[in-house]
Symmetry: C2
DNA sequence: GCACTTTGTGTCAAAAGGACACTATATTGT
DNA sequence: ACAATATAGTGTCCTTTTGACACAAAGTGC
C-alpha cells in the first residue's frame, strides 16, 4: 500500500480487539460471552471481539463497538480501554496481541435481543471459574472485574448499568453487587449531590415503600472521579 | 506457520510499541526522545520504540524494555502500560496501532550513557510544545504526563525517579516538579510511614542544613495506592 | 557565635466518608 | 380503617486523613 516500507517484511503479531461487556441482572454481575464460530476454540465460549477492519474502522474503539453491536444489537453507553494483553503462546496461531475494552450497559436495553439467539449469553461472573473459556479470556475477565470494582470506589460508572431514569435504591443495589459488600445510602446520596453529573427529577416511582425520586445522567457529561475511595 | 488460519488473509494494522520514559534532572521533568533512523519521519525526534520481535520477545513488555535498553543501556525500574492508540491516519503507511508504555528512571543511572551519543536526548516536558515531534507522539507524551501526575497524587511512584537511597527532601522535590505545585512535607512523611514499602535507614546525609535520614525502597514490594488523593 | 537552611514534630482545623438513629411515606394484610 | 412492614430520605456525631503552620532540632558558612 506504500513504498515507504514493506509491511510484510517482518512477521507480525496477530492483533485483535476484545470486549468485556458487563451488566447486572437477577441480582448478579454478568459478562457477555459468545460462542466462537471459527477456529481456534471453535464452539467454545469467549469474549466478543475480532480483527480490525482497517478499511472501515477509524480507530479500535470503533472496532470494539462494531463487534458489540453485532452481538447485542446496541452500542453500550460506556466503553473504555482496559489493557492490552500479549504473548507468544496465548493463541495457538502464534504471537498475539489483544486490546481489551471494558464496557457497561443496562440489561433492559439488550435482554430481548440476547434471549432470542443461542450463540450469545450473559454469564454470572461468579460461575466463570467453573467454565471452560477460550484463550486466556477468563484472565481478561478477572482483570476487567477488578477495574470495574476499583472504578466503582471512586466514580459513578455503575450508573451505566442502569436505565435512563433510576432511583438511588437501584444505584445502591448495583454498586453493592459489583463490590460484593454493602455501602451507606447516605454516602451515595452525598456523592450524587456533590457531583454535577446527575439531575434529580421531580417524578417519583413506587418501589415497595415510600416513593423514590428518579435521577438521570445529564447529557454530555463526563464521569467525575472523586478524590477519595469508598472503604474497600 | 500454521494451518489454522492464513495470517495474510486480511490486511493488518501496523503494530508498534513505544515508551514514554520520564526522569527528573535540573529541576525539571524530562522525556527521552530519539532521533529516528528510518522513514517515516526520518531524522526527526520521536519516542523510543519499534516493532515486536516475535521470535525473541515473549510479551510486549519485553519489547518495550528491549527498545529502552538499546537507547539508554539500562532497564527502567518502573514500567507500566499507558494506553493503546490507533487510527487510520496516524502513520502515513496506513492504519496503525501503538501500544504505549510509561516508564520512570533515576537520571543518575543513565545520564553518562546518554550524554555520549547524539541520537538520544532528554527533553524538558515544558519545551515540547515548541518542538516538532514524529507522528502523534506529542499527544502521547501529554497523556503520559497526566497519568504520571495522577498516580503521583495517590501513590509513591515518583520514588522510581530517585536513586536507591534518597531523602524525604529529594522525594518532596521530585513530587513537586511532577505536580507543578508544592506539597506538605508533613503529609509526605505521614504517607511514607504508613506504607510498608520503604525502609528508614540509620544513615544520614548532609543537605545544607540538619542531616537528612536516608530511605530506600524495600526489595520486591509493589507500589501501594492510597485511598485518598493529595489535593490536586 | 550568629544567621540561615533544611529536617523533623506537634497540633489544630477542614473535608468527606461511616454509622446509625430517626422521620416520612408508600404497600400489604387483616 | 389500621397496623405492620418496607423502602426513601435526613440529621448528627464519629473517624480518618490531609492541610496548615508554628516550633524545635541540627547541620553549614561567615
Amino acid at each position: 500500500m506504500t513504498d515507504f516500507y514493506n509491511i510484510n517484511e517482518y512477521k507480525h503479531p496477530l492483533f485483535t480487539v476484545d470486549s468485556v461487556l458487563f451488566t447486572i441482572t437477577d441480582g448478579a454481575l454478568k459478562v457477555l460471552l459468545v460462542k466462537r464460530a471459527n477456529s481456534p476454540f471453535e464452539g467454545s465460549w469467549g469474549l466478543p471481539g475480532g480483527f480490525v477492519d482497517i478499511d472501515s474502522d477509524s480507530t479500535t474503539d470503533i472496532t470494539a463497538l462494531r463487534k458489540l453491536k453485532e452481538k447485542t444489537n446496541v452500542e453500550p453507553p460506556y466503553l473504555e480501554q482496559l489493557q492490552t494483553f500479549s504473548g507468544a503462546h496465548r493463541d495457538p496461531r502464534g504471537f498475539s496481541v489483544t486490546l481489551v475494552y471494558f464496557a457497561l450497559i443496562a440489561a433492559q436495553n439488550v435482554s430481548t435481543h440476547i434471549k432470542s439467539i443461542d450463540d450469545v449469553q450473559w454469564v454470572d461472573i461468579n460461575t466463570i471459574q467453573d467454565l471452560s473459556i477460550a484463550f486466556d479470556h477468563k484472565h481478561l475477565i478477572e482483570h476487567a472485574k477488578q477495574r470495574l470494582q476499583q472504578k466503582t470506589l471512586y466514580s459513578m460508572v455503575p450508573i451505566y448499568c442502569l436505565p435512563e431514569y433510576f432511583t438511588v435504591g437501584q444505584l445502591k443495589s448495583v454498586i453493592e453487587i459489583i463490590l460484593g459488600k454493602t455501602i451507606q445510602r447516605k454516602s451515595l446520596i452525598r456523592r450524587l449531590e456533590s457531583t454535577n453529573i446527575v439531575e434529580k427529577s421531580d417524578e417519583k416511582v413506587s418501589s415497595g415503600g415510600r416513593l423514590a425520586h428518579l435521577y438521570t445522567l445529564k447529557s454530555g457529561v463526563d464521569i467525575v472521579n472523586f478524590e477519595r475511595n469508598l472503604s474497600a
